[in-house]
Structures are given as C-alpha cells and as structure tokens.
Symmetry: C2
Subunit: 341 residues, 2 copies
DNA sequence: GTTAGCACTCATTAAAGTAGAGTGCTAATA
DNA sequence: TATTAGCACTCTACTTTAATGAGTGCTAAC
C-alpha cells in the first residue's frame, strides 16, 4: 500500500489536530476538520490503512489515533512548513551584542524558552580547534603568576600558576616575549613535546616556570572540552502531561542537570544537511532519558570555526513548525552576527 | 499547659518516627516505640495536649499525628543531636584543593547532594567587599584591549574593551603603571568620581581609553553581585512524595533554575549565631516557592572576608540531624582550607 | 494517673455500574 | 468501485456504593 494524496491530507489533519489538543483524534473529527467532504466511515477506512502502514497508532481499541514516531517523521520531513519566525526581544538583544559571549548565550536560551515554552539549551562555541591569539603572563604576587590566554574569536581563559622562585620584571618580559613569538597562531594540536622542549631550553634557568606555564596553557586550551551548556525553561516540561509524570520528569530534570549528558546529545547531532537543523523524535534519540520527547537542534556558526549548538526539548507532540521556524531565524541571526564584520 | 519531660519524649518519638516513615504516627505506635511503658490511651491523652499546644497536627480525624512547623522547630532547637559526620570523598577532594575555586564548589555541591539525597546549592564567595589586587591591560589586536582584574583572594575577572584609536606599546606600559599605582588596594566603594577624573587627567590624550577601562573595571567588580550559584541533586526532590507532585515540583525546579532567587534565599540567611548554621522550616521560608520544604544553610568563610553559603533543600521531614551534622563538618573543612596557610 | 473498651470518623481501596467516544464491519447507495 | 449509513461492540473514564481498617475521643473502671 502506498501513500496517496488523500491519505497524506488525512495524516496531516490527524497530526495537526493532535499537536493542538494532545487527545487521540477520531474519524468524525477529521471528517469535519478537513475540506475533503468525506464521511467518518471513509476516514475510518483510510485511518485503518494509515495504521497498517505504521504512521498512526491507537492507544487502545475504541480510542482515536495518535501519530507514531514514523508519522511525526513523515510530517517533519515532508508536510511541515517552517517559516522563519521573528522572535520578539531577540533582535534588540543581538543588536547590542553583549561583549561577554556567555551573557549573550544565557539571554538566547532564556528568550527562546520563553518564546517556545519548551526546555532549551545552548552550548558555547567549541574552541579546541582554534588558534592561540595572545598569551599574557603577569606576576600577581611573589609566588603567583597569572596566565591569560586569548583564543581566536576572543574567548578568554585564565589560570593562576604557583611558582616557587620569585621572578623579576625583566624575566617576565622575556618570558612573555618568548611565549608570544613561539606559540601565537598555533592550534592546540600543534603544541607538541619537541616544541615544549625547545621553549624550555630557550628559557634557560627558568625552564621550570616555562614548563608549568605551557602545561597550564595546554590544559587551559583543552579544558573547554567539557564544554559549557546553558539551559533555561526546564520547568516548562510540567506544562505537558506526557512529560510531567514523576518518572519522565525525573529523567529529564536529571538530564538537564548533568550538562555533560546534554553536551553529548547536542554535540553528536549531525549538522543536518543544508539547513543546519535536526529533528529527533522520541525513540530516535540516542539518550535513553530523552526517548519520551523530541529534540530539535540547530548548529550555529560564529565564523573562525567556532560552532555551537542550540537544542529545544519538548514532548513528541511539540509544535515542530514553530520550533524549527524559530531556530532557523535565530540561527541566521547568530550566523550573521559575527561574520559580517 | 507546659512541656514536661514525658511530653517531650513523646513529641520526639513522633517526630523521629515521622521522619523515617513519612506516615502520620498513631498512639499505638508510640506506645510500643518508646520505653515509657504507657498504654496507647495515655499516649492519646498526651497527644491531644501536644496538639492543643500546636506541636503536632492531624491531617484529618482518625489519622495519626504529624509534626507542625512549630514541632519541627522545637525538635531542631532542643531535641536534635547533630554530630559532625564525615562525608566520604569529601576529604580527598578538599585536600587536593582544586586551583579553580569554581571546580571545587561544583564538586562540593555534587558530593553533598549524593551524600544527603537532597537538593543542594552553593554560592561562590562574595567578593564585592574586596580589594583590587592587580590590573593588567594588554593589547590583543589593533582595536581590542584586554583588561584582567585580580581581586584579593585571587578571583579573576576579565573583559574585552573595544578602542577606536590604536595604542602603542609605550602608552600601554604607562597606562598599566597608572592603573596599578592608583587603584591597587582599593575596594570598589573607594573608586569615586573625583578619583576617576584625576586618573583621566593624568592619562592626558588617552583619557578616553582610561575612562573606558575604569568603567569596565568598576562594572567588572560590581558584576559579581549577580553571584554564581551552583546546584546539584535537583532530581532528588522526586524522592519525596510531598514534593514530587506536579505543582510543588514545578515551583522548586523553577526556583533552582532561577539562580537569582536562590541567591537571595541563601544570601539573606542570617549567619546563625555561633554555629553558622540556620534552619528554615516550611512556612519560615521567605520565598513562596519554598514554603513546602525546609532549607538548611551554612555560611563558610575562606578568610579575607570571602564568605559564601551552602544550602540544602528537602522536604519538611528532612533528616535534620544528618543534614546539620554534614554541613557542620563541611563548613569546618572549608573554613580551615584556606585559612591555614 | 492510667488503662481497657467501645462507638465513631474518615481515608483508602475495591467492586460495580454508567456514559460516551470511537471503532470495525456489513449492507445499502451513487 | 468508492462511499456512506447504521449498528453492535469495545474500552476508558467517571461515579456510586460498599467494605476495610487505622486511629481517635470519651467514659468508666482500676
């Protein structure tokens, strides 16, 4: 049996209706809902077919139908019309362009959660592929040095280093020069052992300090592998009965608390062809805690290889049109934001 | 009517039992539970008295009694024996003394949540009373300066500053000198307008940049008013039926997501006499979202006026002995940690 | 002052009955 | 051949009723 136009229309009507109400939809409803002018009996026959094909299921005999994962998938792939949607407040916010990326991300998830009424998350752009732009070593007090590392894209990392020997101003200057001339422009993968040895040699009697510093720099650079994830609107899950029961809620809250888990989910999402947007429906999610819900992710790109991901988590019956539309719009904005200049 | 020893014993027995089971306790249970050798009828009479005095309540006629807020209060104030409790893992962790305070705090809440099975939170030590220790201004690229500010206690803040005019090395050196000689050792409150004016004057043609920098510095220093709060074990609330229903859970999750709210709660807690530990039972909580639960806070002190707060949130019938004991122990450890040296 | 005994209350649970939504199937219709 | 009206059937959700039992308050006896 294959999908004809009428079946498609009916399936669409079922899904649309179910997205709205959250109740199984019956044949009579569809008979009136659509402009097909078919009796409920005919619809019933078609629905039996759709069920056989696996697009819809019955929670129990004598209930209406609800979309299966396959049904949603069909809807998302071929039926959905996601128009870019303006998000209020977002525009102003992005125009201001907070100088702290962190604050910007926090604002984005927050606005997104408020706008969509789902739980949202966003990862800071990954930087471990990036290049060292600038290192500054300063003496804070007699036995503490401060290493500030700036990475391409102006991400800043700093680190206190304890030193046993006191270091005079002249040496500081020399060390700074050394570090900057040798390391700038390198990606972390390029900092290998032989280079470290060379640096240490050049540092002479201060090779110990240089060693420490480089260790710290490398660690600093690799450290954002446990990348930051910001979340918002977790409480929105209580708006959807299918997620609000004790067990599901616990699972989700746990997942949202353990940012590492979130990071995995969000990071493993394929960039998703041309759009950069991916939809994972129910069982399609790799993470077991997420198989009761749907996750939509969007990869944004701030240029210089700095990519991050936005994720929206809601019930299976989430408003895919709206969510995808919103994400498209935000993705575009973020992509444009830094690239323009 | 006043509290005699027998009433006290009975009240204690009721509370202990209720803390364990979460079920209203009846007179017969107490009659067997205690070593008073009294019949249930006698207990009933005493319980009627205790109810009249407001220490216990009946959910409904023909149910046993449960402690009222007043009852818990009495228990916490005079009946509880909180012995310091070792927390596994904690010791090792603190000995290592992560160089990033942030990581340390994250570990603490995590371990605490795992140990107590309640939801936990911790604030980073407040620094806004602290003094500027060190400022470093560096040129990152032609139109970006990086300001790194180190505060007493080695808290680091940094900030990118956009400048229109390019600044040469010599000027950078001068500006750095100027900033450090003039501002070091000052608390934020001491940086006033006349001082800023003076600095600008001294900076001559670069007064614009100096102005920007000072603005940023001041903002940077004040910025940790929206202080960091780390949380863990939020999902533990689902372990306690009285908090796990939809409405209560939503409230709590929301509170835990909005760190500002948490910050208020945790910050407004009185240091709590000699122990530094405070217990807020049910309605005693100022925040409306928290009135279904109990909150125990402890103020820790890393020296140099750097104080932070730990909070544990659980049901009214939380194991106060354990929680207070644990907090005492951790508080001591944290207090000692940095002070020793 | 303490306790045994008893009537009473009320939440909880189970069982039974009712209503209604929706289906599948059949036979009639266009 | 496709569509539809009609009907018996199914199953959930809700309401009602009854049974159970834990626990109380009170009284009278010890």
């Amino acid at each position: 049996m294959e999908m004809d136009e009428r079946k498609t229309k009916i399936l669409q009507a079922i899904i649309r209706n179910y997205l709205e109400t959250g109740e199984p939809v019956g044949s009579r409803t569809i008979s009136k809902y659509t402009d097909l002018n078919l009796s409920s009996a005919t619809i019933r026959n078609e629905m039996a077919d759709l069920e056989e094909m696996g697009y819809i299921v019955q929670p129990h005999t004598s209930a209406g139908r609800i979309p299966s994962d396959k049904g949603y998938r069909f809807y998302v792939d071929t039926l959905m019309e996601a128009k870019e949607r303006e998000v209020a407040d977002m525009k102003d916010m992005l125009l201001e362009r907070q100088d702290r990326l962190e604050d910007m991300l926090k604002s984005v998830v927050k606005i997104l959660a408020k706008d969509t009424q789902y739980a949202t998350m966003i990862t800071a752009p990954m930087t471990h592929l990036n290049k060292l732009k600038f290192i500054q070593l300063s003496r804070v007090d007699s036995n503490h040095l401060l290493a500030v590392v700036v990475i391409e894209g102006n991400m800043i990392r700093n680190r206190m280093i304890e030193v046993s020997e006191e270091i005079d101003d002249e040496t500081m200057l020399k060390l700074n020069m050394l570090l900057n001339t040798q390391l700038n422009g390198l990606a972390i993968e390029e900092i290998n052992l032989s280079m470290v040895a060379k640096l240490k040699q050049q540092a002479g009697i201060h090779s110990g300090v240089i060693g420490d510093v480089i260790d710290e720099v490398v660690e600093t650079l690799s450290e954002d592998k446990d990348l930051e994830v910001y979340t918002s609107g977790t409480n929105n899950i209580f708006k959807y009965p299918e997620l609000a029961d004790n067990e599901s809620a616990r699972k989700l809250i746990t997942a949202f608390e353990e940012k590492e888990v979130l990071g995995d989910i969000i990071q493993n999402s394929e960039p998703g062809e041309e759009t950069g947007i991916q939809v994972y429906i129910g069982g399609e999610n790799a993470n077991t805690n997420m198989q009761d819900c749907s996750v939509v992710t969007a990869t944004y790109d701030l240029g210089d290889g700095m990519k991050g991901t936005i994720g929206i988590v809601g019930p299976r019956r989430m408003d895919y049109d709206k969510v995808v539309g919103t994400l498209k719009s935000i993705k575009t904005k973020l992509d444009d934001l830094y690239r323009k200049e």
